[in-house]
Each structure stands twice: as structure tokens, then as C-alpha cells.
């Protein structure tokens, strides 16, 4: 597992692409114009696929627009959030985040979760507020804060480690992992096809397509089983976006060949395509959307991993550690902004889907997340960023119930389990106290079902019910609205 953790170089690769005269100039420009332009916060919503990014953004936007259910978000609780509106987004070449469609789906007659994200999209929410600080109050109003949010398929995040790996090394890693017993059954068709391949044969595109397809099937199966999620690369194979079918997505890992090879051989072509993938897909994605973040929330489906078993927990940890190496946490000062570019000065780790667990276990969930993300969190703290952990449910789709059985009372949750017509009470089990226990495997493993959003979610027009959304907003935005 250690081998796939990228070295710290990955961060510096991005920095190199960002640094230089141009960056310095843009930093200077930002510094000079910032007092006069509207302050903008780029909030990085980071999370692997199915960690709840889309739901988080939808609920955040809806609840800020209605702004009623936020007792712990001080600006809202003190009535200082005067209004919020959706305004045209800054990047005109990106699709707009489908907020309206998502919220309609959630609040409709047959409520559904938003569809999984397959491409990048962006949304700008502008908040008008009454500041408390004397300095800001002395400035003429209205006081505005632009909140830029970006949604993207979580699969793409995992491409980051590729930046530091060349094709042969990457292939070695993938092949080694594929031969492990847990994954072997799913990898067999692809491995067999690879074994029969003539590496020096003539170029036949159909072979590439077939192998890439087999490899993609293997990745899909792994994702289904929550296996090896840190290594579901390249991310675009699973979620191609608008690149589907292009040659840069038509390759697969190949064993390192012995001896000399013709330049037109299978290995050489795959290497080329792999490099093209890195250059045209991975690098721009991170450069454009992740190198300028101000704050970050890392969403993690720890509950899902815990329910899937110890291997999934290990994988999740590896994936998180891997992904978070790309970001640049650190304290911001005006001087450092000028010379180093922006840094992420606040990082919130949230374990999502907390509504699938009774409230009494939420503290434990947050603590487990703290253990799971210790390494990246520690790194961020070391560089001066604020770090916090919490259990979060951007939309609370369940309610708590007590069930008595054989003289004991169990905390259960009730809600609409997917595919059922009536709400039911469900006993999820108990989380263990420590990550070590979770990794060892627990006797009575956690169960997880998929709850659908209940009907009439926002029947009082007071915003969506949630768990911990206000606390996380207070952490992420609170100081900017003071």
C-alpha cells in the first residue's frame, strides 16, 4: 500500500506549474485590486465519488438562500445575512451547476437524490451581510461575499498521483494490486487478454479499445465493491466527461517489457497516450480548479467504507492521503499571498451521511475520521492551516427512533429505504471506538442501506433539514462574514 502513496513531489509539481513570473504578477494584481473588488471565496468541495459533493452544494446553496435553519452559523443566527442570490459565474466556459434541477428533484412529488456528477460545473452564490467588525462597517455597504463552488466527478481526483508517476511505474503498481486475491476475480478477464497480447504486433485500434474496455470493467467492479478505491485510475475511464472515446482514454496498464521494443509497439503507444492524458486532462484540471482554493471541505463517506469492511477502510485512508497531497494548506498573510500564491487556510474534514447513524454516535464518527485523516490533517496543521473534523449530513433524510427488543433499547433510524413504499425503522449497528478496531474488522459489522429523501422535505419553506451544516459553514465562512 505504501508504494502507491505518492511522494511529496506531487505537490511541488503543481506548484511549479503555478509559480513563476506570471503567478507573481497575478498575485500582485489580486493584492492591489482586492480592497476594491468584491471579496471572493473559492470553496473547494473535495470528495471521492459518492461522498455527497453534489448534495452538499445543493443543500448549502438552498439553505443559504432561505437562511433559516442555521442556529450555529452566527451570521445567520444573528440575522446578519440580509440576502443571498445566485449570480453569473466567473468562468464562462464551464457549465452551470444544476442547482434548480437538483432541488426540484429533491422537493418534487417523488423525491430523488441528484444524479451523480459526470462533468465539471460551477456556481457563484453572492451573500450580502451586515458586518460586525468596525473597519468593515466604516466602509460603505452593501457588504458582499462571493462564494464560488465547483462540482466535479470525484473519480477525477484520484488522477493526481499520476502526475509523479511514469507509465511503467504506474503499470507495475496497478498490476501488482490486481493480482491480490481480493481483486483478482474482477481483474481476470483483463489480465488474460493482456497475457495473450502480442506486444510487438501491428497497430490495431480494436485491440486498444477492447483492452481499455476490459480494464474499465475491472475498475467499475472494484468501485462497486469499494475495493482499491485509491487506485481507480485513470479517473476518466470511470467518468469520461466529454472525452469519451478519444485516444487519450484508450490505453491500459501493460507489464514492463523485457529487451528492446519497436517504437510503435503496444507499450510505447500506451506510454504516449498516458503522457497525453496527464498533460491534457489531469494537469489542467488541477491547475484551473484546485490550485487557487481558499478554503476546503473534504467530504468522506467513512460510514460506507466501515460497512464495506476493513479493506475498504484501508483503501479510503490511502485514497484520502493521496488526494490531499495535491492541495496546499497553510496560513495566509498578505505578504505570503503576494509571493506564494493563495493557500488553503481552513480545512474541514466531514464524514458525510451522518443521518444514517443515530446522533449518539456522531461524536465517534468524527473521532474516527480524525484518526483516518490524521496524516493530511497533521500536514495541514503543520503548515498553519486550521483543521476541524465533524459528522455531517447536508440533507437529513431520516429521523431517530427507539426500538425496544428483549429489554434493551436500541437507537434506530427511520426513513424511506430505497425501493420501499413505506418508511421503516432500521438498526445500523455500532461504530467501534477506534480506527484500529475498524480496520481489524468488527464482530457485528455496520449495516448500511440507501435512504431516499423523504417527501415534503422543505414543507415549511424553512430550508432543508441537515446535521452539522451550520457548524461547518461557521467554520468555513464565519470569519469572513464578521
Amino acid at each position: 500500500m505504501d508504494s502507491i502513496r505518492p511522494t511529496l513531489q506531487s505537490a511541488s509539481v503543481l506548484q511549479r506549474s503555478h509559480a513563476g513570473v506570471g503567478a507573481l504578477l497575478s498575485g500582485v494584481r489580486d493584492q492591489i485590486t482586492s480592497p476594491f473588488s468584491e471579496p471572493t471565496l473559492r470553496l473547494g468541495v473535495t470528495g471521492l465519488s459518492r461522498s455527497g459533493k453534489t448534495v452538499f452544494i445543493t443543500s448549502l446553496v438552498h439553505n443559504i438562500l432561505t437562511a433559516r435553519r442555521f442556529p450555529l452559523f452566527q451570521a445567520s443566527a444573528q440575522g446578519r445575512l440580509t440576502a443571498a442570490v445566485l449570480r453569473p459565474q466567473p468562468n464562462l466556459d464551464l457549465p452551470r451547476f444544476a442547482y434548480e434541477a437538483n432541488i426540484d428533484g429533491l422537493l418534487g412529488g417523488q423525491p430523488v437524490w441528484p444524479e451523480s456528477t459526470w462533468r465539471l460545473s460551477q456556481l457563484r452564490l453572492t451573500i450580502s451581510y451586515k458586518p460586525t467588525s468596525l473597519l468593515k462597517r466604516a466602509m460603505p455597504g452593501p457588504h458582499l461575499l462571493n462564494l464560488d463552488l465547483i462540482d466535479y466527478p470525484g473519480e477525477w481526483l484520484l488522477d493526481l498521483p499520476l502526475l509523479t508517476l511514469d507509465f511503467a511505474d504506474w503499470s507495475d503498481q496497478v498490476l501488482a494490486a490486481a493480482k491480490q486475491p481480493a481483486r483478482k476475480p474482477y481483474a481476470r478477464p483483463w489480465l488474460e487478454a493482456l497475457g495473450q497480447l502480442d506486444l510487438n504486433g501491428d497497430h490495431d485500434e480494436r485491440v486498444y479499445i477492447e483492452l481499455a474496455q476490459l480494464y474499465t470493467n475491472y475498475l467499475r467492479a472494484c468501485r462497486q465493491k469499494n475495493l482499491m478505491i485509491a487506485q481507480l485510475q485513470p479517473g476518466r475511464f470511470l467518468m469520461p466527461g466529454d472525452l469519451e472515446g478519444s485516444p487519450s482514454l484508450t490505453f491500459c496498464p501493460v507489464p514492463r517489457p523485457r529487451g528492446n521494443l519497436s517504437k510503435s509497439g503496444f507499450f510505447a503507444t500506451c506510454t504516449q497516450r498516458y503522457e497525453a492524458y496527464k498533460k491534457h486532462v489531469v494537469r489542467p484540471f488541477f491547475r484551473d480548479h484546485f490550485s487557487k482554493l481558499d478554503r476546503q471541505i473534504v467530504l468522506t463517506d467513512l460510514l460506507g467504507a466501515a460497512a464495506a469492511g476493513p479493506a475498504a477502510v484501508e483503501d479510503l485512508q490511502a485514497a484520502m492521503t493521496t488526494v490531499l497531497q495535491a492541495f496546499r494548506p497553510g496560513a495566509n498573510s498578505w505578504l505570503s499571498k503576494l509571493f506564494r500564491g493563495r493557500r488553503i487556510d481552513k480545512m474541514l474534514f466531514a464524514s458525510t451521511k451522518a443521518d444514517h447513524l443515530p446522533r449518539a454516535q456522531h461524536d465517534r464518527l468524527a473521532r474516527l475520521l480524525g484518526e483516518l485523516a490524521f496524516e493530511p490533517a497533521n500536514n495541514a496543521r503543520f503548515r498553519g492551516a486550521d483543521v476541524s473534523f465533524m459528522a455531517l449530513s447536508a440533507i437529513k433524510s431520516t429521523r431517530l427512533a427507539k426500538v425496544r427488543e428483549q429489554g434493551k433499547v436500541y437507537d434506530c433510524i427511520t426513513g424511506w429505504i430505497a425501493g420501499q413504499q413505506q418508511p421503516k425503522a432500521f438498526y445500523p449497528g455500532e461504530l467501534p471506538d477506534s480506527l484500529a478496531e475498524l480496520k481489524r474488522g468488527i464482530d457485528a459489522p455496520l449495516a448500511q442501506v440507501r435512504f431516499m429523501p423523504p417527501p415534503n422535505l422543505d414543507h415549511q419553506q424553512q430550508g432543508l433539514p441537515h446535521i452539522g451544516l451550520d457548524r461547518s459553514l461557521e467554520f468555513l465562512l464565519g470569519d469572513l462574514l464578521s
Binding site: 443566527a77 431517530l400 427512533a401 427507539k402 427511520t414 432500521f426 417527501p455 433539514p465 446535521i467
Partner: protein, 475 residues
């Protein structure tokens, strides 16, 4: 039960669903809340049984703790404390104070290192722990006297810690010895007072009965009339007593609440937040004046979304903020009235009486805002505590600067002595009111700003000056 098990909502095993106010489920017309609409976390109402005279060995708090969950650390601590005292004499220890803290006891004087003035102070100071008069209301409740206020203990703890370098264990020993001494001497005094009181009552009853008998012998009609009157008197007495009783129970419940919340808020992640929140919620939901606030609060911060500690925060910010501002309004109005009346009244005696009456009224009003509604004895108790608080913390608060601000500067030059007297009186009222607020609030000040004397004082000066100017203009 196995993880993954599901139940139909009609299942009898389901005891209750937590109500979060949103009623998402009920909106569909499905009554899923079972038989009990109440959250089952609500603890049994904390109605203390007032102790009987003579049966003083049980503190009023022991029955309450039995009512709450047995595993609560508070409960075990308390029962353990009252059990191991010699002779079962009640001790009343605030739940959040660790036992090894020497200054936690409200007999703090002996912790002062021996100095020349210590003995004199000790002799002259009325120890709060001693029932000193044969007072029928205080006497049956010796336990109450033991725990008047932590503030006293703390205030002196601060001073003693500054003054002396005595080691903790030493002062603890000293204290224990002193406590034993005091308990011995006062136990017999208590017995004496109780027996005298009982004797008096017996004599009174006997005398009344014989008087009645004599009346019946004299004239049947007169006897009937007298017994009717007697019955009425007894009934009204009973009603008064029960009302007082309930008021005292309310106050002791509030004190208990405060202990719970203080313990829960003492540190991040301290245990007991669940119990404290449930108790606070239940207490304020029960009263008509605050029930709607609690309903609003439940909708805002449902118990299955927020941890108890977070809910305590929201409760303070949302519910108590409103009550606090009501209380401050009352205090301000009272301080203003007192100041103005004192300024314009010609007789000193009238000032004093008026101030006393207004202050008592204010304290009652402030307590009522927080849902305590003290009876007569309750008010007295409160007044005593408030005065103690003011006296003890007053010295420290002098640095507050409000008075200096009032008495110094150009303003004083134009003030008559009468006006400055009025302002001082008003400030005293304000201070009493703030102390009463402190006593009655179910939660300590944590997220809301504690109103300060200087805030009220500043406005007081303005208001008084304005009213004086107006009266001058009219003249």
C-alpha cells in the same frame, strides 16, 4: 439486535420517534409517533420533596438524583457524599466541584492564613452556613443553608489564593475540622429550636381547641362561627404554605438545573450535557410563558440533529437571549426609577423604603422572567443570596469603573449631593438586579455577553440627567 434489521413503523417495539418539529413524516398523515409524543429522553419531573423537620438527614437533592439516570456521575457523587458524613448531617456540595478543591466549601474563612484580623473577621462575620435564628422557614431546611452560593466560595477562593501560600491539603484539613466543630455546635441548637417550635405549636393547638370547646359551651352558634373561621384560616394557611412550598421547589429545581448545566459546560466534551439539556428543555417547556420559545427552539435545533452541547449553545443564544434582554429591561427601568425617586424625594426614610420595595419587586420580576417565580420565602432567600453576592463580589467589581466614571469628572461638579445619592442608589439597584439575574439563569453566561454594570450605568446617567433637565425646564 443485528445491524441491518428493519422494522415496520407500526411495530409495537418502536417506543418513540424523536420529535424534531419538522414533522416530515406526519405531514403525510401517518402517525408514526406512537403512543408517547414526548421525547422519551425527558427525565421525570424534578420535584423535590421538601424535607420534614427532624428528618433533616436527607438533603432535598437526593430524591432528585434518584429521579435522574442512575449512572450519572453527579448522582453517585452526591449520594456518596451525603452517606459518609458523621451522623448523617447533610452536606450540600455543588456537583461540579471536585472534592479535593479546598475552597469549594462555603466556609471559606478558615482557608485564610492566620493573620491578626482573621480571628476577628471570623467571629464577627455571619457565617452563611449557620441557621442563626429560630426561623420556622429556615430551620427545617438546614441543607439549604449549606450551599448558599458558590460565588461566595469562589470570591474568597480568589482572595485566599492571592493572600496565602497555604497548601491545599492543609487548608482542607483545617476546613474539615472546622466543619465538624460547627456541625456539632449547631446540631444541638437546631434540635433546641425545632423542639421549641413544636412545643409552641402543640400549645397553640391545645389552647385553640380548649377555646373552641369553651365557646361551644357558651353558645352553639358562636362555637360554629368560630370553628368556621378556624377552618377557613387553616385552609388559607394550607394554600399559602403549599404555594410557598411549590415556589421553593421551583427554586431548588432551578438551582439543580444550574448545577447540571455548569457541570456540562465546564469543559468541552464534559459528560452530562444530555441530562442537562433534557432537564432545561423539560423545565421551560412546562411553563406556559416559555413553552412557545421551547417549541421554536426544538424546531430550530432538533435533538436528533444537534448534540446536547450544541443545543445548550443554541438554547442560550436563542431562548435565553430573549429572556436576558427582558431581565435587563426590568433592571434598567428599576434602576432609573430608584435613582429619580431618590433624587427628588425630600425624606431619607422614604427613599430607603421605596428603594427596598422596588428592589424586592425587581428581584421577583427578574426571577419570574427566568421562570422561577419565587414566593415570599423564596424572595427572601434570593435577596439574601443577591446581597451576599453583591457584597462579596462588589469589592472586586469596583474596578468596573462605572462608579468612578459617575463620581469623577465634570459631571459631578454640576451635580447636587442629592443627585449623586440617587445615582448611587440606582447603581446599587442595577447591581442587585444583575446579581439576581445571575442567580436565576438556568445556564451560566457562555455565549451571550454578560450584561455589565457599566452598560446600565451609562444609560442610567443619561436618563437621570434628561429627567432632571426636563423638570428644570418645566420650572
Amino acid at each position: 439486535m443485528k445491524p441491518g434489521q428493519t422494522f415496520e413503523l407500526s411495530d409495537k417495539k418502536i417506543q418513540s420517534l424523536e420529535q424534531d418539529g419538522s414533522q416530515v413524516w406526519d405531514a403525510l398523515g401517518q402517525n408514526v409517533s406512537g403512543d408517547e409524543p414526548e421525547t422519551i429522553k425527558t427525565p421525570p419531573p424534578l420535584v423535590p420533596k421538601p424535607p420534614m423537620p427532624g428528618a433533616a438527614s436527607k438533603t432535598t437533592d437526593t430524591p432528585k438524583h434518584q429521579g435522574s439516570t442512575p449512572q450519572a456521575p453527579v448522582a453517585t457523587d452526591q449520594t456518596g457524599q451525603s452517606g459518609d458524613k458523621p451522623g448523617g448531617q447533610p452536606t450540600y456540595r455543588p456537583a461540579n466541584q471536585p472534592t479535593d478543591k479546598p475552597t469549594g466549601r462555603p466556609q471559606p474563612f478558615i482557608a485564610v492564613p492566620p493573620r491578626a484580623d482573621t480571628a476577628a473577621r471570623q467571629a464577627s462575620s455571619p457565617s452563611p452556613a449557620t441557621p442563626s435564628k429560630p426561623n420556622p422557614a429556615r430551620n427545617p431546611r438546614p441543607s439549604k443553608e449549606q450551599g448558599p452560593s458558590k460565588e461566595q466560595g469562589r470570591a474568597f477562593a480568589a482572595t485566599t489564593n492571592q493572600n496565602g501560600g497555604q497548601s491545599a491539603s492543609q487548608s482542607a484539613l483545617l476546613q474539615a475540622a472546622q466543619r465538624l466543630n460547627q456541625q456539632r455546635s449547631y446540631r444541638w441548637l437546631a434540635v433546641l429550636v425545632v423542639t421549641l417550635g413544636a412545643l409552641f405549636i402543640v400549645l397553640l393547638v391545645a389552647d385553640t381547641l380548649s377555646g373552641l370547646a369553651w365557646l361551644f359551651g357558651f353558645s352553639r352558634a358562636l362555637g360554629l362561627l368560630a370553628s368556621l373561621l378556624l377552618g377557613l384560616a387553616v385552609v388559607s394557611l394550607g394554600i399559602l404554605v403549599s404555594r410557598e412550598w411549590r415556589a421553593l421547589a421551583r427554586m431548588s429545581r432551578q438551582r439543580h438545573l444550574r448545577q447540571l448545566t455548569e457541570a456540562a459546560l465546564s469543559e468541552d466534551g464534559a459528560p452530562g450535557a444530555d441530562d442537562a439539556m433534557a432537564a432545561v428543555e423539560a423545565s421551560y417547556a412546562r411553563q406556559d410563558e416559555t413553552a412557545w420559545l421551547v417549541a421554536q427552539f426544538r424546531e430550530l435545533a432538533p435533538s436528533d440533529s444537534y448534540s446536547a452541547a450544541d443545543r445548550l449553545e443554541v438554547f442560550e443564544r436563542e431562548v435565553l437571549r430573549k429572556l436576558d434582554s427582558q431581565a435587563v429591561d426590568i433592571i434598567e427601568e428599576n434602576a432609573r426609577n430608584t435613582a429619580i425617586i431618590t433624587t427628588i424625594s425630600p425624606f431619607a426614610l422614604f427613599d430607603a423604603l421605596f428603594t427596598l420595595w422596588r428592589n424586592l419587586r425587581m428581584i421577583r420580576q427578574v426571577a419570574t422572567v427566568y421562570g422561577v417565580a419565587p414566593g415570599f420565602w423564596g424572595s427572601m432567600q434570593l435577596l439574601r443570596k443577591v446581597f451576599a453576592n453583591v457584597l462579596l463580589t462588589g469589592g472586586l467589581e469596583a474596578a468596573d469603573g462605572a462608579l468612578n466614571q459617575l463620581l469623577g469628572g465634570s459631571l459631578t461638579a454640576r451635580l447636587s449631593t442629592k443627585l449623586s445619592e440617587g445615582l448611587v442608589n440606582g447603581m446599587l439597584s442595577a447591581r442587585l438586579g444583575l446579581a439576581a439575574m445571575d442567580q436565576c439563569r438556568p445556564l451560566p453566561f457562555k455565549h451571550n455577553r454578560r450584561p455589565r454594570l457599566s452598560d446600565i450605568g451609562g444609560r442610567l446617567v443619561g436618563a437621570v440627567r434628561k429627567s432632571i433637565m426636563k423638570s428644570k425646564d418645566e420650572r
